[in-house]
């Protein structure tokens, strides 16, 4: 939850919120209706937005294994769901702890930088067509945070050891 709201619970006995904090609380509360509406839209449109991205992905990466495409699409939906939840709470830390650290490592170990960055750029395009300016302003900080993790650095895996069963 938004850090300044959390502080209401923890510090109420010691002091009242300072004026800038009350402004922040007020801004958050007044944006909550729009955040909730946007969250519902994302939830309801997930399949509608993602299907054309999946179709385009298969055309752009015709030689890629289906498993890898599906995995990246699943991760993109996971990303969208976490961005939506973080947007609802206006909490970047939520995104970091629950998703980004894991996602960044996943991109590196599966070497899916090309697929993931392609999907996310298509997703951003879908969102910018479907959402209005103020909705985009609400979700964009979280999308940027996800996109900032796309770095073409794969961890080199030894192909001779593909599954756990291959150990020893």
């Amino acid at each position: 939850m938004k850090p300044v709201i959390e502080s209401l619970f923890h510090d109420a006995a010691t002091h009242y919120l300072k004026p800038d904090a009350t402004v922040e609380v007020s801004q958050y509360m007044s944006s909550l209706k729009e955040r909730t509406r946007l969250y519902r839209t994302i939830r309801d449109q997930e399949i509608t937005w993602m299907q054309p991205i999946a179709d385009d992905l298969e055309q752009c990466f015709p030689t890629e294994q289906i498993d890898r495409l599906e995995n990246s699409l699943r991760n993109a939906m996971l990303s969208l769901r976490h961005c939506a939840m973080a947007m609802l709470m206006d909490d970047l830390a939520y995104l970091e702890v629950h998703f980004l650290t894991w996602f960044q490592e996943s991109i590196e170990i599966h070497d899916t930088f090309d697929l993931d960055s392609h999907i996310h750029s298509a997703l951003r395009q879908q969102l910018s067509q479907a959402l209005n300016t103020s909705q985009m302003r609400l979700i964009s900080p979280f999308l940027y945070e996800v996109e900032s993790r796309f770095k073409p650095e794969a961890i080199i895996n030894d192909d001779s050891l593909l599954t756990v069963a291959g150990l020893f």
Binding site: L69, N75, F103, I109, N157, L161, L162, V164, A165, G166
Partner: protein, 219 residues
């Protein structure tokens, strides 16, 4: 053609199972710590680890490491069962069918969320029958007595030994060649068959370097 609706048939999109905020849950009134499946967790304070070391050294002397290793083996068996059940349930795939990349991703996250530090896996020597694990920020290394003159993470060595034995269905042993408690940058564990690792146990007691030990093992 990929159908998004088909990808969403399962009840969840598998993601960061071992996210610490989601994984560790508790009930302060009951004094309970649980994981996200409701299984009990045990939190061990540093003074207890320090007390275990000092008590064992007083009672068993040089056998302290062996006692800790055997405790670790017992702990590791249960750790493996819980890890296997959780990961299999969540990702809906048997552990042995998981890719190494996914398996290691889970193990590293699990190790960190359990508060055991950072774990790295080195499979460079696996074709020679050894795998290497490196850990940092070990609570056991941090709590070892200052005059403990051999690698101090015997409990973790026991855990890794039992964990990988259960994982591959063979009796494996683990030795530790470097330790944060001795000023090394990380704790290095070599996992392999007991017959091959027994040959270098004396080199650890003599504090020979990790590279020298690997040279003998791979000769």
């Amino acid at each position: 053609m990929i159908s998004i609706a088909d990808l969403l048939v399962q009840p969840r999109l598998p993601g960061h199972y071992y996210s610490s905020q989601a994984y560790v849950q508790g009930d302060l009134e009951m004094g309970l710590l649980e994981n996200r499946r409701g299984d009990r967790l045990l939190a061990i304070p540093s003074p207890l680890i320090e007390a275990i070391y000092s008590g064992l050294l007083r009672e068993t002397g040089q056998a302290a490491g062996l006692v800790l290793f055997n405790c670790g083996r017992w702990w590791g068996k249960n750790f493996y069962i819980r890890f296997r059940d959780e990961v299999t349930d969540y990702y809906e795939k048997p552990l042995v069918d998981m890719s190494m990349a996914d398996f290691l991703h889970c193990l590293k996250d699990c190790w960190a969320t359990y508060g055991w530090g950072k774990l790295e896996f080195d499979q460079l020597h696996h074709q020679r029958g050894f795998i290497l694990i490196r850990t940092t920020n070990s609570a056991f290394a941090n709590s070892a007595p200052a005059d403990y003159q051999v690698p101090a993470c015997s409990l973790e060595a026991g855990v890794l030994s039992a964990f990988f034995s259960q994982l591959v269905g063979r009796d494996l042993h683990t030795i530790q060649t470097t330790c944060e408690s001795l000023g090394d940058t990380c704790n290095t564990f070599i996992i392999g068959t007991r017959s091959r690792l027994d040959a270098v146990e004396s080199m650890i007691e003599k504090r020979e370097s990790h590279d020298s030990i690997m040279a003998v093992l791979c000769a």
